[in-house]
Amino acid sequence: MKAFLLLLILAPAVAGAQTLSQRGFVEGAGTLFPQEASNDSTRAVVDLRARSELFYKPAPWVQFAAGLDLRANSHDQVEQGWRVAYSDRGVREPRLSVRRLSATLTGGGFTLDAGKQFIRWGKTDIVTPTDRFAPRDFMNVIDNEFLAITAIRGAAQAGDDTFEAVWSPHFTPSRIPLLGERWTVVPPAAAAIPLVDAGGRLPSGSQAGVRWSHVGRAIEYSLSYFDGFNHLPAIQSEFVPTPPEIAITRSYPSIRSYGGDLAAPTPWFTLKAEAAYVTGNDSADDYVLYVLQLERQSGEWVFVGGYAGEVVTRSRTSLVFAPDRGLSRAFVGRASYTLDPNRSVAFEGAARQNGRGLYARAEYSQARGQHWRATIAAVAIGGHADDFLGQYSLNSHAALTLRYSF
C-alpha cells in the first residue's frame, strides 16, 4: 500500500511518459446556511479535498488505473483515523480512501475491467432509474458524488451492438447523511430525543447485471437487468426508553430491476427516456421509475429538462432514504450558458408536481489560468415537511468552491 501511495503522490512528476497519465485536484469549499436546523446549529461548513488519479498503459491491450482521495471537514463528517479505506462503506467519509483501483484488458472486441471502478448505466441525467451499480455519497443530499464499486465488468462489442455483464462480489451502499446533522431532517418536536446510529445490515451476497445496447443511425437504446441490492437503504427506527433515544438501523433490500433507456435525436431536440421496474423482497416496494428528458444546445446555451415519474405497484416499506424516488413526480431542468472560454453560469431547478417541494440553484464559475477555478453557488429549497425536497427547506445555502487542478 505504501508503494501505491508513493506512486500516486509522485504521479505528476512522472506522468510525462506516453503510457502514463495523471490528473487530480485540491479543493476547498465553504458552505453557509442562513438558517439553523432543528437538530444542527452549525451554519458554516468547510470541506477540503485532494484527489490524485493515475492511469498506466504498458501495452495497447492493458491499462491500470488507481486513484486516491484525501478529505478533511469542519463538521465531523470525516473519520478521524488515517487508515486507507478501500471499501468506503463507513458512516463517515474516510480521511484517506481508494477512489479507484482497476485493470482493463482489451482485445478482439472484448473489454474486461476488474477492480474498484465506476459503472454507469442509463442515458438520462435528471434521474437514472437503470443506474444500479452507481451508489453515491449523500453526505450533502443536494451536492453528492458517485462511489466506485468492486466489480468485474465484461463488454463485447459487435458492430452497433454491445453486450455488457457485471458481477460485483462486494456490496457498496450509498452513504446517507449523518443522523445528527441538518441533511437528516428531524421534526422540531422530536429534536430533543437523540437519534443513534444502530448500524447498517449490509448484505453479504454478490450482485450481477447484464445490459444490451444498440447504437442505430437515428436512435440508441439499451435493455438491462439487475439482480442485487438497493444501494439506498430502508430505515428502521426503534424507540429506546432508557435513556430515551431513537435507534436507527439501515438495511438494503434485495431487488431485481428490469430497465430500458433510449436517446433519439430529432430536428429540434434530443429526446431521452429511461425506465425501470424494480421489484424487491418483503421489505421493499415494487415500483416503476421513469424519466422523459429533452436536451438542446443552442449557441452558448445548453438546456436539459424533463419529468421524472413513479408508479408504486406494491407498497411495503414506510421509511426509505431514496433521493431517486424523491425526485420523481417532479419537473427537473438545467440551463447553462458559456460566457467565454473561462466563465459560465448555470441554473437548475426541480418542482414537485403537487407544488409541495421546490429546489433552485444558480451558479457562476470562473477559471483563471490553467489550474484555478472558483465557483459560487446559491441554493434555495422550499416546501412542506412531508415532501422529499420540501423537508430540506431550512437547508438553503450559499457555497464557494476553489479548486486547483493538476
Binding site: S21, R23, G24, F25, E53, F55, K57, P60, Q63, A65, T104, T106, G107, G109, T111, F118, R120, F146, A155, Q157, T162, V215, R217, E220, A263, P265, T266, P267, W268, F269, T270, E295, R296, Q297, S298, G299, E300, T338, D340, P341, N342, A367, Q370, H371, R373, R403, S405, F406
Partner: protein, 263 residues
C-alpha cells in the same frame, strides 16, 4: 408583321438558348473542374492514419486567451475514417474525449466522453453548430468531409498570401445536413493544399478558417497552423499541430465507444 415578330422572337429565343446552352456547358465544365480539383486535393491527403498533438489558443474579442491541448488520432481518411480526440490540458478537462465516426454519404456520428461523470453522450445533429469546448470550432467543423458530399463551382483563380489558388464554391448536397449554406474554399495551385475556407449561413459569412505554415510531411502537404475566426462573436481559435505523423500503425479497437472510456 406578326410573322416577322414571331420569327424575330424565335431567332431571339434560339440565340439566347444557344448562349444559355453554351453557358450550361461552361457551368458544368466549371463544376467538373472544381470537383476534380477538390478530388485531387483529397487524393493528395489520403493516408491510412494520422496522429498529432494540437495546441489550441482561444482569443476572445478583448484578446483574452485560453489554452487547451489535445491529442488527435485518425484511422482511415475522407469519409471512411474514425477519429479520437482527447484533451490533455488544462488539467480540469484532461481525459475528455470525442469519438467521430465519419461516413461517406452523410454527417458523422459523434460521442463525447466526460470522465467527471463517467458518461458518454451522443452529440445530436442539431447541436453540431455549437462551439466545441469553448473554441471557435463547431462540432461540425471537426468532421472530415468527403468530396462527394458537396456540389462545387469554380469561381476563378485568386492568390492567397501571395500564392496562386483556385476559388471554389462548395454547397452541401441535400442528403448531407449542415449548418452552412455554402462555403468558399481556396486551394493552392502549386500543392493542392487547402489555404482558406469561408463558411456562410445564407449570405452571411460566419466563420473563416485560415491554413498556414504549410509543410510537406511524409509526402502530404499539411497546414501546421489553422486559425478559425468566428465573425459573429469576433473571437478566434488558433490550432497548432505538433508531432504530425501519417500512416502509423493504429489499433482499430482504439476507435470505439468502449475505448474512449479508457483514460
Amino acid at each position: 408583321m406578326n410573322e416577322r415578330r414571331c420569327s424575330h422572337t424565335i431567332l431571339f429565343v434560339a440565340v439566347v438558348s444557344s448562349f444559355l446552352a453554351g453557358a450550361d456547358v461552361e457551368v458544368l465544365r466549371a463544376a467538373e473542374d472544381a470537383r476534380a480539383i477538390v478530388a485531387e486535393a483529397q487524393r493528395r491527403t489520403d493516408a491510412k492514419s494520422q496522429r498529432y498533438e494540437g495546441v489550441l489558443q482561444v482569443f476572445d474579442a478583448k484578446g483574452k486567451i485560453s489554452d487547451k491541448r489535445w491529442t488527435f488520432e485518425r484511422l482511415g481518411s475522407h469519409g471512411q475514417s474514425r477519429v479520437v480526440l482527447r484533451f490533455v490540458a488544462p488539467p480540469e478537462v484532461k481525459g475528455v474525449a470525442l469519438l467521430i465516426v465519419n461516413h461517406p454519404d452523410r454527417a458523422s456520428d459523434q460521442w463525447m466522453w466526460t470522465p467527471a461523470i463517467e458518461r458518454d453522450r451522443r452529440i445530436a445533429l442539431q447541436d453540431r453548430s455549437t462551439r466545441f469546448f469553448g473554441t471557435d470550432f463547431s462540432f461540425e467543423d471537426l468532421e472530415e468531409r468527403d468530396v462527394n458530399q458537396n456540389d462545387y463551382a469554380l469561381l476563378g483563380e485568386e492568390s492567397i498570401d501571395g500564392t496562386p489558388g483556385w476559388k471554389i464554391q462548395s454547397t452541401p448536397k441535400q442528403t448531407r445536413s449542415s449548418q452552412y449554406t455554402r462555403s468558399i474554399v481556396w486551394i493552392r495551385t502549386d500543392s493542392y493544399a487547402v489555404a482558406r475556407i469561408e463558411n456562410y449561413v445564407k449570405d452571411k459569412l460566419v466563420r473563416r478558417l485560415n491554413y498556414s505554415d504549410i509543410q510537406n510531411i511524409q509526402g502530404i502537404w499539411t497546414a501546421r497552423q489553422l486559425e478559425m475566426l468566428d465573425l459573429t462573436r469576433g473571437s478566434r481559435t488558433r490550432l497548432t499541430l505538433e508531432k504530425v505523423q501519417y500512416n502509423l500503425p493504429l489499433d482499430d479497437e482504439a476507435f470505439t465507444l468502449q475505448a474512449i472510456r479508457r483514460q
